[in-house]
């Protein structure tokens, strides 16, 4: 990027001469400036990751430090990949990912499209819509649990008010069928604004003259929407999906507070399951292998996805 002949020429201004005379060289400053960040990330992210990989080949248990640690090869990985319960958790996670992203993209894009019409006071209402995503997911999850209470909750009351169903006839958090949807609703409430903001940024980046040219060509509004708006905003939508996908794959706090993984294990997403293995059953080695599998999955999917995203961008 900065290696074009023009920028090289720009760097050869007299400023460079002045730089060499006074103070440290640029290279030294660069390392002093970047060094601490890299060091911190190595210490708190990469070192633990390598440690996790190492642990994943052992039968180590963090609550029994005196026990001798044995290397068990790929046994942990084998057990996880052949465990049908874990595949159920993966399915629950995939279900959750699919529906949250679906609703957030549909509602988020619609809102962004409407806000882009620049009606009066849209700034204020946008700020109000954005509020939920700035809040603590754990506190939000805890409070939605209150709203979902079958006997006293506001949510059930409102549904009853509109449908006439008995409020105690449906338990959002207690029913096997409804519990997964209770998380989808809260996550959509919380994170639709994020998708909306990215879409809004995308819509605002489309230059007016493209529409003006289309108007001259007498393209209908509908046609303009499908041939200009959608293709131009696609990279932004894909970016939003990437961010939401990564975040929701890691989703922990909201679900822990809301359902705790229950009823049964219907809302036990992989990260909740992982927490249970690591910090309740203390099967550290096993949980480490699980963590690595999840990380590789996210990283792999994200890399493939980013490649596709770049292709869309290049068009």
């Amino acid at each position: 990027m900065s290696d074009t002949p023009i920028s090289r020429a720009a760097n050869a201004t007299p400023a460079n001469v002045a730089r060499k005379i006074k103070g440290l060289s640029d290279r030294a400053i660069a390392w002093i400036f970047v060094g601490p960040t890299i060091f911190l990330l190595l210490a708190v992210n990469i070192f633990p990751l390598i440690w996790t990989i190492n642990l994943s080949f052992t039968n180590f248990r963090a609550n029994r430090l005196n026990r001798e640690v044995e290397y068990v090869g790929f046994r942990n990985y084998e057990r996880i990949l052949t465990d049908s319960d874990i595949w159920l958790n993966m399915q629950a996670t995939a279900h959750f990912l699919f529906w949250t992203i679906f609703f957030q993209v549909v509602i988020g894009f619609t809102l962004a499209y409407l806000i882009n019409k620049k009606f009066k006071g849209n700034d204020l209402w946008t700020t109000i819509i954005v509020l939920p995503m700035m809040l603590s997911p754990a506190v939000v999850g805890n409070f939605w649990k209150f709203l979902y209470q079958p006997q006293i909750g506001l949510f059930n009351y409102i549904i009853t008010f509109f449908t006439g169903k008995e409020p105690s006839s449906f338990e959002m958090l207690g029913s096997v069928d409804l519990a997964p949807w209770s998380i989808v609703i809260v996550d959509t409430w919380m994170w639709t604004p994020f998708v909306m903001l990215i879409c809004l940024a995308g819509l605002r980046s489309i230059p007016d003259y493209i529409y003006e040219a289309a108007e001259v060509d007498r393209a209908s509004k509908l046609r303009q929407f499908f041939t200009i708006t959608i293709p131009m905003i696609l990279p932004f939508l894909m970016l939003a999906i990437l961010f939401r996908g990564i975040e929701n794959f890691k989703m922990f706090d909201l679900v822990v507070q809301l359902t705790g993984g229950g009823p049964g294990s219907t809302t036990e997403l992989t990260s909740i399951n992982l927490k249970r293995e690591a910090f309740e059953k203390w099967r550290t080695g096993y949980a480490s292998a699980y963590a690595i599998i999840l990380f590789v999955t996210v990283f792999g999917l994200a890399s493939i996805y980013v490649k596709a995203l770049n292709k869309v961008k290049e068009r």
Binding site: A10, A15, A18, K22, G23, L24, D26, I29, A30, V34, P36, L40, L41, V44, N45, I46, F47, P48, L49, W51, T52, A62, L111, L114, I115, F119, K120, W125, T126, T127, V130, L131, P132, M134, L135, S136, A138, V139, N142, F143, Q151, I152, P167, W189, L197, R204, Y211, E212, E215, I246, K250, F252, D253, L274, K275, A278, A291, L294, F295, F299
Partner: protein
């Protein structure tokens, strides 16, 4: 360009768009409004059905949030009349205030860890972003991607070794440990956001300063920093909000001394289950600063979220 523009929406479509957006905004506000309302209810009003929109407001939830209470004998209560309004609220249940609750402490932890890690991430992040923006760093793009990729890891995946590592280093359940951890999580965001802001400051400013005899350091803090101030401020808010809201690490790696408010609020127990008005009061106090920040910074939100990639 003429005053007539084809891209300007018609009046009717504006009105239609406005109505839909406002409807959505109002619906989206209901849960939040309900949290705040519940904080002012008495425990019995909070769990009445149908839910009460109109009720007699009380500060009971807030008193319960900040205090611990014990039951007292009738003789004691008769001999020691209540001295202030909060004693009076507690007296209706034949109780006296025994002392402060843990909420104040936990809230203070949130403040210390939130601001500590924000300061550190901004300090380190600004330096790194400046270096990435201005100097030729070998493999800069790869390094930047590496920095971003650290955000993809599920917190629980690294929590196990960090748990073990912190125990060895004596950092578990300490403010410093949590500050370092949140800094590491936030720094990727800080570097990416700040690089975008610094990229936009023309290099000519510094070059002029260098010609005037400033050193690189002087040019950096006398010329670049003031220019980047708004960008730094809005990045700081994003870092603060993350550290403020974080739950997974807090619940896994702290047990008391350094525990922040998010793991604590959902555990406020009253008579027979959760004390919902107190929980709501705690949530309100905890959410309020973030809400104020959001309103104050609404202009910067868009750029922050899109990594400054889009200019209006």
């Amino acid at each position: 360009m003429s005053s007539f523009s084809v891209t300007e929406p018609t009046k009717r479509s504006k009105w239609f768009a406005g109505t839909l957006v406002i409807t959505y905004a109002l619906i989206t506000m209901i849960p939040l409004a309900w949290i705040m309302l519940t904080g002012f209810k008495s425990p019995s009003d909070a769990i009445s059905y149908p839910p009460k929109v109109f009720f007699e407001p009380t500060l009971e939830g807030y008193v319960n949030l900040f205090t611990t209470r014990t039951r007292q004998t009738d003789e004691f209560l008769a001999a020691n009349p209540p001295e202030n309004w909060y004693e009076e609220i507690v007296r209706q249940y034949d109780m006296v205030i025994a002392g402060p609750s843990k909420f104040g402490e936990r809230f203070l932890n949130s403040v210390i860890i939130g601001f500590g890690s924000t300061f550190l991430s901004i300090f380190l992040g600004t330096l790194a972003a400046y270096a990435f923006s201005r100097f030729k760093i070998p493999l800069a793009d790869d390094l930047l991607f590496f920095i971003l990729s650290t955000r993809m890891m599920p917190p629980i995946a690294v929590a196990i070794p960090i748990f073990l590592m912190y125990r060895q280093l004596g950092l578990s359940d300490t403010h410093l440990g949590m500050i370092l951890l949140y800094t590491a999580v936030n720094i990727s965001l800080a570097v990416w956001l700040l690089k975008g802001f610094i990229d936009e400051i023309p290099r000519e400013y510094e070059e002029a300063a260098l010609i005037d005899g400033y050193t690189r350091f002087q040019a950096f803090y006398k010329v670049v920093l003031p220019q980047a101030a708004t960008g730094i401020a809005s990045t700081a808010i994003f870092c603060l909000i993350f550290a403020w809201n974080e739950y997974a690490f807090a619940v896994l790696l702290t047990s008391g001394t350094a525990q922040t408010a998010p793991p604590f609020i959902p555990t406020i127990i009253g008579v027979g289950g959760l004390d919902w008005p107190a929980v709501a009061a705690g949530a309100t106090i905890f959410l309020l600063p973030v809400m104020i920040f959001t309103v104050a910074l609404r202009k910067h939100l868009l750029r922050g979220i899109t990594f400054g990639a889009v200019r209006k």
